[in-house]
Amino acid sequence: MSDPAAFSKRPIHKRDFAFLRQELDYWQRSNLLSEEQVHAIGGLYDPSKRGRMSQALVALGAMLVGLGFLSWVAANWMEFSRVFRVGLILTVYVLSILSAWQIEFSLPKTSRALLLLGSFVYGGGIFLIAQIFNEGGHYTTALFWWMVGIVPAALLFRDGLQLVLLQAVALVYINGFYSWWHYGFYEYGARAAGVADFLWRFVRRPEPLLVVLILWGLWWFIDSEWSFGFNLNVFIVLTLLGIQSALFFNDIVMFLIFGVLPGTALGVCAFGRWKGALGGWGVALLGLCGLVLTIPEVWHRSRVPGEAIFWMNKNLMVFWAANPEVACSIGMAIFVGVAMLWFVNRGIVVAVPFFCLLILRYYFDRFYDFMPKAIFFTVGGLILAGMGFWLEHLHRKRREKRWNAEVLP
């Protein structure tokens, strides 16, 4: 076994050291470790001697010094020569990375933070250098290069923080890319050709799609169990599709239906390890778009109710022709309500608040104007409380089901 004295001591708070000693003693009593091993492990750590007050003062002082330096640089930035400005950016970046390297083992969390700082300095440096040389161009180009620079750090260090930064930059990039370049609006794609045309734009300018694929690849490589990264990736995909469909459809109803259908499909098809997360996103998409479509005024400006009459059964046509917007909104409400109940039954509890919102939306809409306020709020409160009890009942059922599956044969 290597000599612990050969390693520099790792700093540790006195409270943490006390916990460590307590656990080491327990392991020794349990014959998991020998006395020599306990002593060797304890000898690796150096409980901090400085008091909290002095630490806080030092930290505050360092922060103020840093702030003062930054303020001086910012105030005189345009007066510095170009060479000085570029040199400053490069120096700060290199120092961040080298510092992260130096303290990798002694202060691992600070080392990661310095790596992240380096990525931020790099990104800011791209924009600052463009400013220094008066370069124009769309900001998405700079964001693209920023992402390219972060990927090595995310890959080599398998660092989730770098991936989160990459995802945040990608989100802005995707939003900006298609707002800068989008071609034409298309009439709502009820025909197959319309859907193909919608998909073709991803082939014609595939950069955002490639970025999304890289993000998924990185997430899988870094930690395929990491739910925050997974959910952020799903959000980015939905943003990409949402923006594109918003630009593509010049009919708000078609845009919202384009949210309802994939949301439903996502909720229905969610399975496996990520059933809860994917199902939740699908239900949220269905719920948000579907709830808006329960408002008759949304359908009023759309061509969909008028066009749909050609597909109608003749018996329904009478009511439909008289009140197409109301008919569509009621139809959507029924669909959303049934879908949410189905998802609740499937164990996707995110459906419960959306079902509640659907009920409350009609309750407010129908009863607010004529009901006495006292009764209105009382009944509304009873509805909410009832939904809360229902949700708790569902949670309990799920816990019991999980317990039975795991514990009982």
């Binding site: 990375i97 390297w101 440096g125 220094i132 161009g137 900001y139 080599l156």
Partner: protein, 180 residues
């Protein structure tokens, strides 16, 4: 992989981007010939890069009569193709277009651009609108000083100093000159 290699590797791409992207601009500023140009700025703001003045130059619109060869003649200029604008100074030292050619001239100060469109106005010479690229569109200024420049431009008291090298042009500074 060794620790040192990892840390050095993650710096390669960012340092390459930070150093190589502005390399051409830096070379033009270091080795280019100084030219003085007339401008008409206005004052917007870029949320990422700061205050800037959006610039329009007199050299962006060039009379078609300066084209060599003329449109309609053999080998004349197509839209969207690259073009070389030869500049020459007037009595005040302000540079104006002298000639437009398809190939880079062997001598004189010239900038490479792209023909954006032709413009025909009644009672006026037909003109060619030329795009010189992103480096001649905007000039970044200290915060809240753009309006001062805009005011000066409205009075015709602003000139841009740029550097030209190898067909490329980079803005160096903007000067408010004394009242005309």
């Amino acid at each position: 992989m060794r620790r040192a290699a990892k840390y050095l590797l993650i710096m390669v791409v960012p340092l390459a981007v930070l150093l190589l992207r502005p390399l051409t601009s830096a070379l033009v500023l270091a080795r280019g010939e100084e030219v003085r140009l007339e401008i008409e700025p206005f004052d917007p703001r870029d949320i990422f890069r700061g205050d800037y003045v959006d610039l329009r130059f007199a050299i962006e619109e060039v009379p078609m009569s300066l084209m060599d060869p003329r449109p309609g003649e053999e080998n004349s200029q197509d839209d969207e193709a690259s073009i070389y604008v030869t500049l020459a100074p007037d009595d005040r030292g302000v540079y104006h277009p002298l000639r437009l050619t398809k190939t880079e001239p062997s001598k004189g100060v010239c900038i490479r651009g792209r023909v954006r469109r032709h413009r025909s106005l009644p009672d006026d010479d037909d003109t060619v609108v030329i795009d010189y690229g992103e480096n001649l569109r905007r000039f970044y200024v200290k915060e809240n000083t753009g309006l001062e420049l805009e005011e000066a431009a409205r009075r015709g008291n602003v000139e841009a100093i740029a550097r030209v090298w190898n067909g490329r042009i980079i803005l160096d500074r903007i000067e408010i000159i004394s009242m005309k």
